[in-house]
């Protein structure tokens, strides 16, 4: 790996590190009587924000209580991130392209798993309603959007990456781009080597002839 690539990967790892200090994802709610808005921040290891208020509102329609203690994800995620950072750091120090490929693959698997998990939770949260809830609207489910906005009764729900999530996304892009450049450069080098080898052979053949 070129020095530039190694620096880029090191930088991406620093970006990943911010996940421990910054929220990754934000769910927002606004309604006429909530001009100040309500929000939930999802972190690597938990949820903060107006969880209490959102739970309070959701009991009318029979949605489950959100309790960060009940999510196994928040116990595992900090270790998975540690592993990613470790692999990336070693790849950067050693300049190993193989490890870099491994890192990107893991990142993609982690992101995909994360989004699928998030979607399934949202589905369950929005569909699995208490049959004794006070407010029942025929055919209405309250699954929040995966990304973007969605109107749920009087609330407009939004779901977007928070600062930490954006930085992780950037780290992913840097990792992918670095690998792409490395592979392209590698191919070019190989071609040049091949060309040079072919040139030398030509020369030899010509000199023989």
């Amino acid at each position: 790996m070129k020095t530039g690539s190694r620096i880029a990967i090191a930088a991406a790892m620093v970006l990943l590190l911010t996940a421990y200090f910054l929220p990754l994802w934000e769910i927002t709610l606004s309604a006429p009587q909530y001009p100040e808005g309500l929000s939930m921040d999802i972190w690597l290891n938990g949820i903060t924000g107006n969880v209490l208020q959102i739970n309070g509102l959701n009991h009318y329609i029979g949605m489950q209580h959100i309790d960060p203690q009940n999510f196994a994800e928040f116990k595992i995620a900090p270790y998975v991130f540690g592993l990613l950072i470790l692999i990336g750091s070693v790849a950067s120090v050693k300049g190993s392209r193989k490890l870099l490929i491994g890192l990107l693959a893991l990142m993609i698997v982690f992101a995909a798993t994360g989004f699928i998990d998030f979607y399934l939770w949202e589905y369950n949260y929005g569909h699995n309603l208490d049959p004794h809830a006070a407010i029942k609207v025929e055919g209405m489910y309250y699954q929040p959007p995966l990304v973007g906005y969605k109107q749920l009764l009087n609330f407009l729900a939004g779901s977007f990456p928070a600062t930490g999530g954006m930085l992780i996304g950037l780290a992913g892009i840097i990792t992918a781009a670095t690998l792409y450049i490395e592979i392209r450069n590698g191919k070019r080098n190989e071609k040049e080597r091949n060309d040079r080898a072919a040139g030398a052979l030509d020369h030899r053949l010509q000199s023989k002839a």
């Binding site: 107006n50 209490l52 208020q53 309070g56 009318y60 006070a134 407010i135």
Partner: protein, 658 residues
Amino acid sequence: MKRISQTTLLLAGLGAIAIASGCKAGKTGQAATDEDAAKKVYVAPGKHDELYMFASGGFSGQIAAYGIPSGRLLKVIPVFSQNPENGYGYSEETKPMLNTSHGFVPWDDTHHPELSKTNGEDDGRWLFINGNNTPRIARLNLATFKTEEILELPNVAGNHASPFCTENTEYIVGNTRFSVPLDGDKDVSIGDFKKKFKGAATFIKVDKNTGRMNIAFQLIVPGFNYDLAHAGKGPSHDWIFFTCYNTEQANTLLEVNASQRDKDFIMAVNWKKAEELVAQGKGRKVPAKYAHNLYNERTHSATSAMENDVTMLDVKDYPGLIYYIPCPKSPHGVDVEPNGEYFVASGKLAAVIPVFSFKKMLGAIDQKQFEGDFDGIPVLKYNTVLEGEVQKPGLGPLHTEFDGKGYAYTSMFVSSEIVKWKVDTREIIDRIPTYYSIGHLSVPGGDSRHPYGKYVIALNKITKDRYLPTGPELTQSAQLIDITGNKMKLLLDFPTIGEPHYAQTIPAEKIEKNSVKFFKLEENDNPYAAKSEKEARVVRKGNRVDVYMTAIRSHLAPDNIEGINQGDDVYVHVTNLEQDWDVPHGFAIKGSNNSELLIMPGETATLKWAPDRTGIFPFYCTDFCSALHQEMSGYFRVSPKGSNVPLTFHLGENLAAR
């Protein structure tokens, strides 16, 4: 001769008022307002006002907060009077706030709101106000808009010269308007007024961190009627000025008998010197009984303690502590201009407004320019302290505030107007009518070192034809006047609660940033709090029943309670479990001889209920909290005395099928 001409003027003025209001009601009030006045007071829906005005409710005993320039009423803050609207003075937690040495007093008369000051500027931390009738001073927390402390003043009656504060709120003061014998003298002939009746200038130390008040000392002064006060600032920092009328020391038909002398007094007090004397152990501790009530934001409860003594300094024993300055005639307000050099007194029956110089006062004291003494207290010569007089200002000058640009604004009760004059030349610049009979006036920051200016607000006593009639009992009013130009311009006229006796006005930014949105449940230290539904319960001890109830949208827990007996004392402690902005819950019980409760998020409040008959008594949330607010209700079952119905309580077990 001079006195005759003043009286004639006054009578003429009174006559003019009578004619104006008696003959052509409706015409006098039609003064043109500027075409863009509406724009200047229009605060678009959803937008906030530029300033808060805190006006006393006068005989309502409360304070009201208004937005300026819109004049919108934002909140009535209960202080000295019970307020069934939110249970203040009715709930077990707040009853102690209204305790006094006379027992529970459900009402008082509020006069002068005073914002706490730092470096002579309004700091937006606390608001003080006097209770005039049963002498007290209250302190409000401007983060919660709640009354946090009430301190009774012993040896005082009619606490009117109150609660004006020194430059850094080191002290706030109180003093007697109706001189009385000191509390130790129990049974005195009214005829002994001159001998036995005294004033007690009371200095209350304010803790600069907590705001807590304690009486530091009382200066025992001659028995006059002490009316108003203002502390010095800058060069005059160490001094405070009180007005006194009835230096005749009359005790009957004061209207006439207290209006005989051409000049009464301004009493200048060197409070710094008094503080030093007390620090040296001077003065004497005198037994006194007065209530000191404190509201704790964490227990959401007030406690009332009785204090036992007060330190007194008899001013006759300490020369140099106070001086009298003659002042024409029956002075009402005394106001210190922003630089602290000039102080202005308004003799309500006087034909001039005297402007005194602090520097000249010190000079006169230095050179002993005394015209005599009163009870051993030196009386300075009027002319040696006088800087000049505002000539022919109008009739019945009462109060002056300043705009920080060199102008003063004086209210004229009898001629019903505000007069603008230049402080250094005492030349009259402009005058504007008020509708009608202005008392105090308020320039934002108008008594501080750096007035905000921009407006003067007239606080009027009489409205007559100004609004739609409401029978004989009419609203009083405030009028917003633009003072940005050379000429004053009337912008707005709005009704108030009670009597807007005085108001202080402060830029909103100094208050709103500190405003509390709700109380944290985990910080609730009320011993009767139920911090979750799991803690909701009912406990009997003899004939006392404690109901630990919770309220959250949209149910009360427990909501079915049986086993209460007629003759029980039931204490319902309701904790609002909400942790969100603007979600109070109310609580009321059918037939309860008490008020309702209004409980803020995170707060606990207690309603005492003594059921006097058997039956089923519904209770419910009175504050429309949610879509299922009406469902937020429950039942008490009250059985006959001695019944053996077991005490049970529950929530959510549907008994409908039984």
